[in-house]
């Protein structure tokens, strides 16, 4: 297995071109969190022609709803949630310059196509590894929708956040190729 690639958002087209399905990556820098309810609100804003709470260009959205932090903690446990629930919203965000999403589980054909078209990648983190991932998060700040609690949009600063490239811009799909390699009979 090759060494992990290091990436830092904002991601350029060149950064994304260098990633292939199956690559391990370590992310250092800013991630924005959003899941079901926050995505719905972002799309509603776009429908009304209003500005989003953060600029999507080159950014990474992490699908997570953390546990509440204990007193003195930066954030609670924070592993990835199932990405497929965000599929309906994702192509529109990719069109606006979002370069990567992080979650777990497979994406729809529409999202895979949109990633090829707009040059973006889908990364998976290890589901359930929430206490481990918490340790990579150095700063967390709610920037929108505080009323949504765990679903609020947070700006995270992370160091060496581990993830794996599932879908690249060339049509590579680790869920297909990996499973194909180990299927028996």
């Amino acid at each position: 297995m090759s060494e992990p690639k290091r990436i830092s958002p904002p991601l350029s087209e060149g950064d994304v071109e260098g990633l292939r399905a199956g690559d391990r990556v370590l992310i250092t820098g800013v991630l924005y969190t959003a899941r079901d309810a926050a995505h719905k609100r972002l799309i509603d804003l776009l429908d009304r022609g209003e500005e989003l709470p953060f600029d999507l260009k080159g950014q990474i959205i992490y699908y997570v709803g953390p546990t509440p932090p204990r007193p003195g903690e930066i954030i609670g446990s924070a592993g990835p949630t199932t990405s497929g629930r965000m599929d309906a919203y994702t192509p529109r965000l990719l069109e606006l310059g979002l370069k990567a999403t992080i979650g777990k589980g497979q994406r729809s054909d529409e999202v895979v196509e949109a990633m090829k078209r707009y040059k973006a990648v889908y990364l998976a983190a290890v589901g359930g590894a929430a206490a481990l991932i918490k340790k990579c998060i150095k700063k967390a700040e709610v920037i929108a929708y505080e009323d949504l609690g765990p679903e609020a949009i947070r700006r995270l600063e992370v160091e060496e956040f581990p993830a794996i490239v599932v879908n690249d811009i060339y049509g590579g799909d680790l869920f297909k190729s990996g499973v194909e390699e180990y299927r028996r009979g």
Partner: protein, 267 residues
């Protein structure tokens, strides 16, 4: 008691699951799969040492309660359990993940719990809690097969369900299978099957052999840890069965992620 069970379940994986995950690390053929299993093992070690929830989805609290018929109770058992959940999720800094199905408004305290109660012999109460995340619960399915489909139909449905789920339910998974009964009985059997210690076969030889066959077929799918490809897709398959109607063959498959949290207490 319920408060403590909820908090402990979220942070401390059972020894059975830990052992199964360590054994999986030895057996997994994919290097990426082993990397994932290594992260999963480090994660439960950190969760235990720091009393942190191992997964951010601290689940819907599911209870199986066996009440001895000689137990006298003041007040409502259900209210007491829900109060325990309320306190456990608040004081344990666990995520509140219960909402109205239409407005999606969070109830704010992770209640109501799902409670299955049975009256049994004796003068004690056995409480088992299994906080269940949605990632794996969402990939569970139930089929009302035709009796003619028989054993093959059952196997095909179980393996197909795991195949469709792919990486979504956070494999390596534990697969609970309920066969027979009726629509709801099959589902409850499948859920209760998950409470059995991982890797302990059903005492019935026929069902134990079915469990073995299913585990083998599932691990041939190649899904692997987190769906990245590999030889360990499931750690264990647990089958429970009950008699059913002459015209029915219900099969329920309840999928459990690797964060297989369950705790038990007797009072």
């Amino acid at each position: 008691m319920v408060k403590r069970l909820c908090r402990d379940a979220a942070c401390e994986l059972g020894e059975d699951v830990k052992a199964a995950l360590r054994a999986a690390l030895e057996r997994e053929e994919s290097s990426l799969g082993r990397d994932v299993l290594g992260q999963i093992i480090r994660n439960f070690e950190i969760a235990s040492a720091e009393e942190a929830p191992m997964c951010q989805d601290t689940g819907l609290a599911v209870f199986f309660v066996d009440v001895g018929r000689d137990v006298h109770m003041d007040g409502s058992l259900e209210d007491a359990i829900n109060e325990g959940v309320r306190q456990g999720y608040r004081e344990g800094y666990l995520r509140k993940s219960v909402c109205d199905p239409f407005t999606r408004e969070n109830t704010g305290d992770n209640t109501p719990a799902v409670i299955h109660t049975r009256v049994v012999e004796g003068d004690s109460i056995r409480i088992r809690v299994a906080p269940k995340g949605a990632g794996s619960e969402n990939m569970s399915r139930l089929a009302m097969l035709k009796p003619a489909e028989g054993l093959k139909g059952i196997k095909d449905f179980v393996v197909e369900t795991v195949g469709v789920a792919g990486g979504n339910p956070c494999p390596p998974i534990i697969v609970g299978v309920g066969i027979g009964g009726n629509f709801e009985r099959a589902a409850i059997l499948a859920k209760e099957a998950l409470l059995r210690p991982v890797g302990r076969p059903n005492p019935d030889e026929v069902l134990a052999s079915l469990e073995e066959d299913l585990l083998d077929e599932i691990n041939r799918l190649g899904i692997g840890p987190m769906g990245f490809g590999g030889t360990i897709t499931a750690l264990s398959v647990h089958v429970e069965a009950a008699p059913c109607h002459i015209a029915s063959l219900p099969v329920a498959v309840n999928i459990q992620c690797h964060a297989d949290r369950h705790k038990e207490a007797i009072i």
